[in-house]
Amino acid sequence: MIYREAGDFHTSYTGDGQTFPIRFDRYRYYAVLAVAFLVVPFLINDYWANALLLPFLIYAIAAIGLNILTGYCGQVSLGTGGFMAVGAYACYKLMTAFPEVNIFFHVILAGGITAGVGVLFGLPSLRIKGFYLAVATLAAQFFLVWLFNRVPWFYNYSASGQISAPERTVFGIEVTGPNTEAWATYLFCLVFCVVSAIIARNLTRGRLGRSWMAIRDMDIAAEIIGVNPLRAKLSAFAISSFFVGVSGALFFAVYLGAVEVGEVFGIQKSFLVLFMVIIGGLGSIFGSFAGAAFLVLLPVALKVLGVDMMGWPTDIVAHFQLLIVGGLIVTFLILEPHGLAQLWRVAKEKLRLWPFPH
């Protein structure tokens, strides 16, 4: 396959501003969507859904959210786990309080509530910058987890402090609870994921996106040329938290079904999503997908390879898995500090020059 973008001229600014200005890319994008919506649901089974695709889609939403904040607006956050927990608990409370409302709206509302909480914890970002901010967001992480653990109202006074998702349906098809079909949960998450990606893409290519990136690249200069840092940062926190909240809600309601806050939404989750964003590529929607895929699939792939195919003891495989994931992260960063998305871009650039080396 030789990559060509010659011949793709645009006669309008609308055309030039498209997400996939190159026809070839556009077709590929439609093809991926078609497969995801029309083919995968017929092939999917529980294993693929629960072990790979659901976590991939849900993490991708979280990664998109964090990427808006960190990749586009430059505010490093380690509170993602806490915000996912807000989404999950908000969704739980809504699901149990208004069982007649469609879960679809619960998830969206949960995102909205998380956005509010995100703004609250985003306020310090006006003063605090860089790694100081990153560490400061841990306050959100620990405080929120403590809160959900501590206040019984949040888990409806259940004895164990866990929350579990009751059965809910969309168009009469169950998407939460124990008796769901793999394809239904998959499609439900896919819709959210695709819509999130499209919205994120739209937001980042327009006014808002540019003001975020300006703040990211040089906040003082951005302010002097007319970006209101308060609004830019807080809107980034709000929108980022919205996506993160949605992913938290899906993570709880659709994927896991039952959640204990400290374990599922602990600090590890915050780091995991941040890794996805950085490995995938800061400031790239595609990167969010690549990063999520990498960190969801790689451990499973290594496990399958080591345990199922090579027959090694599980613990040795698990240790090697750490070694390999760590090694790969470093290797990728050395090869291309700007993530998988950039690696892809450079590859395309090379292809474009092909067969000449420069």
């Binding site: 960190t70 620990f142 070694l323 760590g326 992260i329 470093v330 050395i334």
Partner: protein, 328 residues
């Protein structure tokens, strides 16, 4: 109620002591941040790795024995020696220097002049790697670390205070020793960064890799140097915490205790690590003591962060951190 007051004092003193232990971990972060602007996420895992290596060397454990046995069907476990603690500490220090050299060689030198977040990410990769390595080398069971540090209530203080106030204060011997060690470390490191040309070079590197290169500062050397120092600090932290709770995976999580200390004291300040540690230690203990029962306890984790956060709102670079330069 004076009894209440005495107890509050006891809590405060113990908070100070706990703070010193946090500061020990925070110091490692500060060193590397100061010298290269890198937020070294792997510091906690380095403490684990150092402590595990120390125990392994002391007990004469065969490294990678599990792996070797699995592959070759052998039954290796121990070399059958027991090394003196001091010798083992020296050897472990050597291992940490080797590690520093490898980190420089394989990771850092390829990432010169990258943005801080990329370097941060690389240290995360490193943390994963070291975690796997540590498990693979020394196994993941709990190991007892005994280098002869006494633990438990200090009788003398107990007695003296009992006679004075009618209430014997509880102070842990381990904490006293940790305080002394931390004080020595901080003094030594401060002297190093203030009075040596390497100290100045460290700060230069943190500001601008390229410019540092251009004036002839060898980044490679500086990095081996600070990573070795940080490795040594990690070893010390690993020994203190390992003596407290055994050497095992959770040791790597002590990093989380060090982060608020770091924010409060400032990422670049060695004395800041100590002062921050003390404030956090006392703050969280007193808060738990005074308000914990009302809030249902277990407030320590978040309190430290919230305290540091509130503080930063007024002083965004922490207590002693370098002013964040904002200019156009």
């Amino acid at each position: 109620m004076p009894d209440q007051l005495l107890f509050a004092i006891e809590v405060t003193i113990n908070g100070l002591m706990a703070g010193v232990l946090y500061a020990l971990v925070a110091l490692g972060f500060v060193l590397i941040f100061k010298a290269s602007g890198i937020f070294n996420y792997a510091q906690g895992v380095m403490a684990l790795f150092a402590a595990a290596t120390l125990v392994g060397i002391m007990d004469g454990q065969v490294p990678f024995s599990h792996l070797i046995n699995a592959i070759f069907g052998t039954d290796l476990h121990h070399f059958g020696w027991h090394l003196n603690a001091v010798v083992a500490i020296l050897l472990t220090t050597g291992v940490m220097i080797l590690l520093a050299w490898l980190v420089q060689r394989l990771v850092m030198r390829h990432l010169v002049n990258q943005e801080p977040i990329i370097l941060f990410m690389a240290t995360i990769g490193l943390a994963y790697f070291l975690e796997g390595l540590s498990d693979l080398m020394w196994g993941s069971e709990i190991k007892t670390l005994d280098v002869g540090i006494p633990q438990g209530i200090n009788e003398t203080i107990d007695q003296i205070t009992f006679e004075a106030f009618g209430y014997g204060f509880f102070i842990d011997n381990l904490d006293i020793i940790a305080t002394v060690i931390a004080a020595l470390l901080v003094l030594a490191l401060m002297a190093f960064s203030q009075y040596t040309r390497e100290g100045r070079a460290l700060r230069a590197v943190a500001d601008d890799h390229q410019a540092a290169l251009s004036v002839g500062i060898s980044l490679n050397f500086i990095w081996v140097l600070v990573w070795s120092l940080a490795g040594f600090v990690a070893l010390v932290a690993g020994i203190m915490w390992g003596a407290k709770s055994g050497v095992q995976f959770s040791l790597s999580l002590i990093a989380l205790k060090a982060l608020p200390v770091l924010m409060l004291g400032g990422f670049t300040s060695i004395p800041g690590a100590i002062v921050g540690g003390l404030i956090i230690g006392v703050g969280e203990k007193l808060f738990e003591f005074l308000l914990g029962p009302m809030l249902g306890g277990a407030t320590e984790n978040w309190f430290a962060y919230v305290l540091a956060l509130l503080f930063l709102v007024f002083r965004p670079q922490g207590l002693f951190g370098e002013r964040i330069i904002e200019r156009v």
